[in-house]
Structures are given as structure tokens and as C-alpha cells.
């Protein structure tokens, strides 16, 4: 008797405790996918997803967290969100299109003979989500903000000397040296146009979930560490039809097993970065399509120039199992990376002389340098199966020559911060991948290898002034003389190989999984992993 009473008391007590503590959530709608759609929205709305079948709700299971929602400084995985909320002047078309670029906020553009003066004619009748009109002043203010912040992808605007609004809808860029401004304006990062009322805000404002874009969707809520909710912007200049997506949930799902469960169960409509070996089984699933696109994503291991001597770096480069990885992992769909420039991008060098795996040579280099009992740390993404597989295969290789490779998996944000903070304490080898900011080799080389005062993505602490000059020259020339630029980029790439700056592993395939009910998605290597929800219908 007493025990039963006790249990009742205890249960009631706990319920009371719980009730007291949860009065912050009034109406909470939860989904099969876990994590509550947070009721603390910035605009005071509550989100109500409709029935899963035939609904206009879309769930994007994102394996990487969103770091920085400030469109002027964002430089990581936020593009999957921002490309739907903000717009740029131009857009790079998917492979197979007749034109390389199409206009978004700009209707047409032209440049002078030597590509030093660019004129963009803007679209009329575009409004931002806060009601402000999109015009030349807004464009200039947005781009100036990027330049002033000097973070992220702001380097793409270095050629700009001055910008002027010659009239309401015309912007003129005067450049210090030639540059393909039309291409620059299609950039995946940094070139977003925002409402003039937001230009004065700091990054914190954006990272609370506020936004001021002109794109088809607005951010209805943002919960750091969980995800972003988008909803339709009714006054979008492109207009709306039936069957288009009304609300989107870009959810952070770092566990690939969970992402797989969600996509199989219909709780997510799109995901990527699953273990490659399961794509076959997913394709066999009637409700799913496996989507493959052209890839401009390169996987490599940055070598820590502070902790590793040139001899050790050379040995490391020689020890990597290039062919084994390319032939067996990622379903064999990738190909050995030839330098840092992805093979599908202009400027790639198919004849680049790259080292072959040679463990004996590596061993003798170490011996000659007097290095023994070497222990190296390899940092890689905890949620990416192939990176772990690569690590283990590489470790087996190195073990045969007496080198101990210590594998350190972590989430990207954690290991990025650790790598940036102190080169001495950072990993010896930092595995990461890179996809285009805008389609040019300069992006890969500048962002990853140009000497930096404070490491952002140059996580190997590589510093070679000759290399810096070479790529800056190449970029300056790429506006007028493609051929000359290519020659310079390839020369710079050869320096990277000679310096053993990094281990260039693989051009990894671009694969995603989409719900069959949804149509309209076209993968685009210039906007890797971006799904343009406006183009979808279900």
C-alpha cells in the first residue's frame, strides 16, 4: 500500500516540477525529427507544418552547422540558407546551359574593352523583405559593407576601386585592374544584396535570426545548434504558383544514421553527406531519388607548417594511398585530385605532375632526416564516414613505416576553432574539403593557401610570398586574358606541389538524396549542396 502511494506522490511531484519549468513553451509543435520547432521566434509566429504527404513543407537535413548568418561575412555552410533568403546580381548556370550566367537582381550588364569598368542594369520592382526597394544605392551599400568588414569572401571585391549609382537602377564599378565582375557577382558568398536599413547592423543582429534579403524566402526562426525555418515571401518579384514550397525547415542533423532514418522515413526531403555505400540501397527505395551533380569539391589534408618540417611533409605526401582511396572509396565515383583546382573547373591542369604513393621513399626520407618514432595527429569530421575510412587506410599505410597516425574526429566547428587558435596545439594534418565561392581557381588558392595574418581557412599556416604574388597576378589577369591566367594559376599550383603544402586527396563526387515527390532540383557545382526551394514543386 505504502509503496503504491509513494509512487503516485513521486510521479505527481515530478510532473509538477516539470510543469513549473516548461512554462516557457506554450504551443510547441514537434516533429519526428526531434528537436522542437522553437516557439521563441523573432517574428512571433508559430510554425505549423502540414501533413507530410503532398504538403508544401520541405525538410532539408543539413549535416553541417550554420556558423554565421551575416551575408557579408558568411563563409561556411550558411549558403544553403542564404542562397534562398538573399539574392545576388547574377547567377552561375548549371552545366549544360547555353549561357554561363543569368541575371537575378541585374537584368543585363556590360563591360568596357579591358574589363575595368562594369555597368549593371538592375531589375525594377524588387523589394526587400522589410519593404524597402532594391536599387543601385542598396547594391552599393551592401557590397561596401562586405568590403568594410573585410571578412569571409570580401577578397572577391579587391579589384573594386569605386562604385557609383549613375541612376536609380544602374550601378557602375570602376576597377583597379581587370576582373570578371559578372562572375564575381554570382558568388556563393559575400555578394548578397541586403536592404539599406540593415546595412548598419552588426553581425549579432543577423545571428539572432534577423535578415533583410530580397529572396523568395524569409527566415521565420533560427535556433543556433538546431536549425533555421524559412517561409515564403509573398511579394517576391518572381511571383508564386500552386505547388511551390511554402515553408522550409533546414535542420541540423549531424548524425548520418539519423539523417538516413529521416530520409527513408519521409521526415526529411533532402540530405547529403551520407556514407557512400548506402546510396545504392537508397536508390532502390521507391520514394527516393539519388541526385548526382558535377563536382567542384576537393578533399585534401592541410599540413601544419609550424609543427612539421619539410622532410616530414614530403614523407607524408608520399605515404597517402591515392589510388586505393580513389578507386575504392566514395563508390569509386571520385577521382584523384590533381593539385588544388578541381578537375571540372577552368584552370585545372590534367597533366600536373603529382607524386605517386611510395612508402619506401617516405621511409628513407624520414630516416635521412633522423626522424624516428613519429606520431602525427589527423583531424577530420566526426560525421563523415569516408573521412574516417580514409584516415584508417592512411594509418595502416603509415604503420608499415613506423609512423603512428592518431585519428581525431570532431565536429567541424570544434576542430576549426582548435586549428585556428594555436598552430602548436593544432593537428598536424587537417582534413577538409572546399567548394567554390565563385568559379575561379583564385578562390581555392587564395582562401586556403594565401598567407594570412590570422588563420581563417589557411589552416596549415602556409606562407609563401612568391605564391601570393603569383595568384594575385593571375587573378588580375583573369578578367581579360583567360589563357594567361590559367598559365599563372597552374604555375602557382606547381609551387604548392613542390612545397608539399598539403596532401591533395580526391575530387569528391557530389551526391544527394531527394524525395521523389519533389521535382525541379538541379544540382549546380557553383552552389554546392544548395537546394533552391523556389524552383521546387511537390
Amino acid at each position: 500500500m505504502k509503496l503504491r502511494r509513494l509512487i503516485v506522490i513521486f510521479s505527481v511531484l515530478t510532473m509538477v516540477l516539470a510543469a513549473c519549468s516548461s512554462d516557457s513553451a506554450e504551443t510547441t509543435v514537434t516533429t519526428d525529427t526531434g528537436g522542437t520547432a522553437d516557439s521563441e521566434t523573432t517574428s512571433g509566429e508559430t510554425i505549423e507544418p502540414g501533413d507530410s504527404a503532398g504538403s508544401t513543407h520541405f525538410v532539408y537535413a543539413n549535416p553541417f552547422p550554420v556558423f554565421d548568418l551575416d551575408p557579408s561575412s558568411s563563409f561556411s555552410s550558411e549558403h544553403v540558407v542564404l542562397q534562398n533568403v538573399y539574392e545576388t546580381l547574377t547567377r552561375f548556370n548549371p552545366p549544360g546551359s547555353s549561357e554561363q550566367l543569368s541575371g537575378v537582381l541585374a537584368e543585363s550588364w556590360e563591360s568596357n574593352e579591358d574589363a575595368t569598368v562594369w555597368t549593371f542594369n538592375l531589375r525594377d520592382g524588387v523589394t526587400f523583405h522589410d519593404g524597402e526597394t532594391m536599387n543601385a544605392d542598396a547594391v552599393i551599400a551592401s557590397l561596401q559593407r562586405s568590403l568594410d568588414l573585410g571578412l569571409g569572401a570580401s577578397f572577391i571585391f579587391f579589384p573594386i576601386d569605386s562604385m557609383e549609382a549613375t541612376d536609380e537602377l544602374t550601378v557602375v564599378f570602376n576597377l583597379a585592374y581587370p576582373a570578371p565582375m559578372d562572375l564575381v557577382m554570382s558568388s556563393n558568398y559575400g555578394a548578397y544584396i541586403m536592404s539599406p536599413s540593415a546595412v548598419g547592423e552588426g553581425s549579432d543582429w543577423f545571428n539572432e535570426g534577423n535578415e533583410a534579403g530580397s529572396g523568395p524566402y524569409t527566415i521565420s526562426s533560427y535556433t543556433a545548434g538546431e536549425g533555421v525555418m524559412l517561409s515564403q515571401y509573398q511579394e517576391y518579384w518572381g511571383g508564386w504558383n500552386d505547388g511551390q514550397i511554402a515553408t522550409v525547415d533546414i535542420q541540423l542533423v549531424e548524425d548520418p544514421v539519423l539523417a538516413e532514418q529521416m530520409i527513408r522515413g519521409g521526415d526529411a526531403d533532402y540530405t547529403y553527406n551520407l556514407p557512400h555505400d548506402i546510396y545504392g540501397s537508397l536508390a532502390a527505395e521507391g520514394s527516393l531519388d539519388v541526385v548526382r551533380g558535377q563536382s567542384m569539391t576537393n578533399l585534401f589534408g592541410m599540413l601544419n607548417h609550424v609543427t612539421l618540417s619539410p622532410e616530414v611533409r614530403e614523407a607524408i605526401v608520399l605515404s597517402f594511398p591515392y589510388d586505393d582511396v580513389a578507386n575504392n572509396l566514395y563508390g569509386g565515383e571520385g577521382s584523384r585530385a590533381l593539385g588544388i583546382i578541381p578537375q571540372a573547373m577552368w584552370g585545372a591542369d590534367p597533366d600536373l605532375a603529382v607524386p605517386a604513393t611510395d612508402l619506401d621513399q617516405a621511409a628513407s626520407i624520414l630516416e635521412d632526416a633522423g626522424v624516428s618514432d613519429l606520431s602525427l595527429t589527423l583531424s577530420y569530421d566526426a560525421g563523415t564516414t569516408e573521412q574516417q575510412q580514409i584516415g584508417e587506410v592512411w594509418a595502416a599505410n603509415l604503420a608499415t613505416i613506423g609512423v603512428d597516425l592518431v585519428l581525431e574526429p570532431l565536429t567541424f566547428d570544434a576542430r576549426w576553432e582548435i586549428q585556428q587558435a594555436d598552430p602548436e596545439a593544432a593537428a598536424d594534418i587537417f582534413m577538409m574539403f572546399w567548394f567554390p565561392t565563385f568559379v575561379t581557381p583564385y578562390d581555392f588558392m587564395f582562401s586556403l593557401f594565401r598567407s594570412e595574418e590570422f588563420a581563417f581557412f589557411n589552416l596549415g599556416y602556409y606562407a609563401n610570398p612568391d605564391f601570393d604574388l603569383l595568384i594575385d597576378d593571375a587573378d588580375a589577369v583573369s578578367g581579360v586574358d583567360r589563357e594567361a591566367a590559367i598559365a599563372l594559376f597552374q604555375e602557382a599550383q606547381e609551387i604548392l606541389i613542390a612545397d608539399n603544402a598539403a596532401v591533395f586527396m580526391l575530387d569528391i563526387p557530389d551526391v544527394g538524396v531527394m524525395n521523389t515527390e519533389v521535382s525541379g532540383h538541379v544540382p549546380n557545382p557553383a552552389y554546392t549542396n544548395v537546394v533552391r526551394f523556389y524552383e521546387l514543386s511537390r
Partner: protein, 300 residues
């Protein structure tokens, strides 16, 4: 006194192999025998791993990329994992890791617990109070949690896993030993030995400790099983021995990704291994407890 004889003083009387004694009873209990057989298989498998499989190097972690994710077959009785390594070989080498961790954890926990418990119980007074308060604090943590945060702080490795789990387990032994020592301290023979001036340390080691070990052994036997489970749990969340060390918990974590796509054998067999090992240790612990305590034998 010979060494084996001296050692045997530390074992409970019921463990001597004479008819009517505990061990004799153990051998008649089929559950216990089954457990012993399973354990023997696992131990032999772990020790003789390199000779029991043609895929010894795969067991230690060397990949074979041409045979990835193959199902159970004549060449690979339990299939291969996502790096082509024979699953049976990985299980055998994983047994080494599991047993190493189990024995390491229990030994460390017993030794630390023994020392602290014996000192607290023997000297009493404020030493006892302080040591017992500290023990209480460690006991306050829910079982897995302290191991998790210690392992997370120290970093994932075999050595740190052992330390982390032992850190959360020693308090039980300390408590147990202390209680026993407390009651033992007042026994005539101990008082006699103290009276004639034998130094405390010798008293503790030679007279007190051997007589308190009985419940310790019983608990240690079943803790071996629990440590296999705990260690697997830590590996599963990434806090165990680093790859490519063969480890059952990591095999489940890695193999889990392929289960829904039909490649079930990696995670399933690793789980069976953990289950059987934990089961065998627990059964053995149960039977040992039974033989040490007449009431639960069902004889009364």
C-alpha cells in the same frame, strides 16, 4: 608458507575444491558451467587471435579495400566491414581490447578501493570520516556519467577509458572493504596482534585484508561484465580506444550506418560478442555469489 598457499588465504573458504565446497557446487551448476565455457572460448580467442584467423593483420586494422562490405560467406564467416576487414578477425582482436579493459578497470578499482577502504576502516576517526565523505561524493554520480566526463576531458584512448571507468567504480569497493575492516578490527586476534606491537601496515596486509576479500571477489566477478558494457557504451559515443584498434563498441557505432541498407552483419555480430561476454561474466558472478551465500542456493 608456500606462495600458492599464501595466495589461497585470500580466497574465500568456499572456493576450495573439495566435495561440498563452493567450487564443487559450482561445477554441478549447469548455468555456471555454460558461463565458464563461454568465457574460456572468449579468453582463448583473445589470446590466440593471431593464430585462429588467416586475417590477423586485418584484425589489427589493416584494410582490404577489394573486399568491402561482403556478407557472411565461406571466405569470411562473419562477413567484412566497410574497409574490407574480416569481421571475425576484428571480433577476436576486439576481445583483447574488451578483456584488457575489463581486467584493467576492475583491478584498478579494486586496488584503489581496497587501499582507501582499509585505511579508513582500520584507522577510523577523522581519517575515516574524510575518506568516506569523498567516497560518498564519487558514489553520487550516476553510473555512466562520471566515466563519460572524465573520458571526455582526458581524450579518447584505451588507457583513458580504463582510468575513467575505474574512477567511477572504486567507491563501491572502498565502502565494502571499510565495513568489513571495521568489524574485523575489534576481533580478538587483531587486538592481540596489535597488543604485541606488530606495526599497523603488516597487520593490515597480512591479517586484515585477506579476511575482507570475499565480497570483493564476488563483486569483481560481476563487475567484469558491467565493465564490458560500460566500455562499449563509451566507445559507442566516441570516447573509447581510437581507431584502428579493434573494439566492439566502435564496431557497432561504425557498423550502425549500414544496417538499414542491408549490411547488418558488422553491428549485429559485434553486439552478440558484447552480449555473450557480459552474459558470461554476469552468470559467473551470479553463481559465485550463490556459492558464497548459502541462503540463495535454495538450500537454506
Amino acid at each position: 608458507m608456500t606462495a600458492p598457499a599464501r595466495a589461497r588465504r585470500w580466497l574465500p573458504a568456499s572456493w576450495q575444491v573439495t566435495p561440498g565446497s563452493g567450487v564443487w557446487y559450482y561445477r554441478r551448476n549447469w548455468l555456471g558451467m555454460a558461463a565458464a565455457v563461454i568465457l574460456a572460448v572468449i579468453v582463448v580467442g583473445a589470446i590466440a587471435a593471431p593464430w585462429l584467423t588467416p586475417y590477423a593483420d586485418e584484425g589489427t586494422g589493416v584494410p582490404d579495400l577489394s573486399s568491402r562490405l561482403m556478407g557472411p560467406s565461406a571466405e569470411h564467416w562473419l562477413g567484412t566491414d566497410d574497409l574490407g576487414r574480416d569481421v571475425l578477425a576484428r571480433l577476436l582482436y576486439g576481445a583483447r581490447t574488451a578483456l584488457l579493459v575489463a581486467v584493467g578497470v576492475v583491478s584498478l578499482a579494486v586496488i584503489v578501493g581496497l587501499v582507501i577502504g582499509a585505511i579508513a576502516g582500520y584507522f577510523g576517526g577523522w581519517i575515516d570520516e574524510i575518506l568516506m565523505r569523498v567516497t560518498d561524493v564519487f558514489l553520487a554520480f550516476p553510473p555512466l556519467l562520471l566515466a563519460v566526463i572524465v573520458a571526455a576531458a582526458l581524450g579518447a584512448s584505451l588507457r583513458n577509458t580504463i582510468i575513467a571507468i575505474a574512477v567511477s567504480w572504486w567507491p563501491w569497493y572502498a565502502r565494502q572493504v571499510r565495513t568489513q575492516v571495521l568489524s574485523l578490527r575489534e576481533r580478538p586476534f587483531v587486538r592481540a596482534v596489535r597488543a604485541i606491537g606488530v606495526p599497523d601496515r603488516r597487520i593490515i596486509v597480512q591479517h586484515v585484508v585477506p579476511n575482507v576479500m570475499a565480497p570483493v571477489w564476488v563483486q569483481a566477478a560481476s563487475d567484469l561484465g558491467a565493465s564490458v558494457l560500460t566500455a562499449a557504451g563509451l566507445s559507442f559515443v566516441g570516447l573509447g580506444p581510437r581507431p584502428p584498434t579493434a573494439d566492439w563498441g566502435s564496431m557497432i557505432a561504425d557498423g550502425r550506418q549500414f544496417v538499414l541498407s542491408g549490411q547488418w552483419w558488422i553491428a549485429t555480430f559485434a553486439g552478440v560478442a558484447i552480449l555473450l561476454t557480459a552474459l558470461a561474466f554476469n552468470l559467473m558472478g551470479d553463481v559465485i555469489r550463490d556459492v558464497s551465500d548459502p541462503k540463495t542456493r535454495g538450500e537454506a
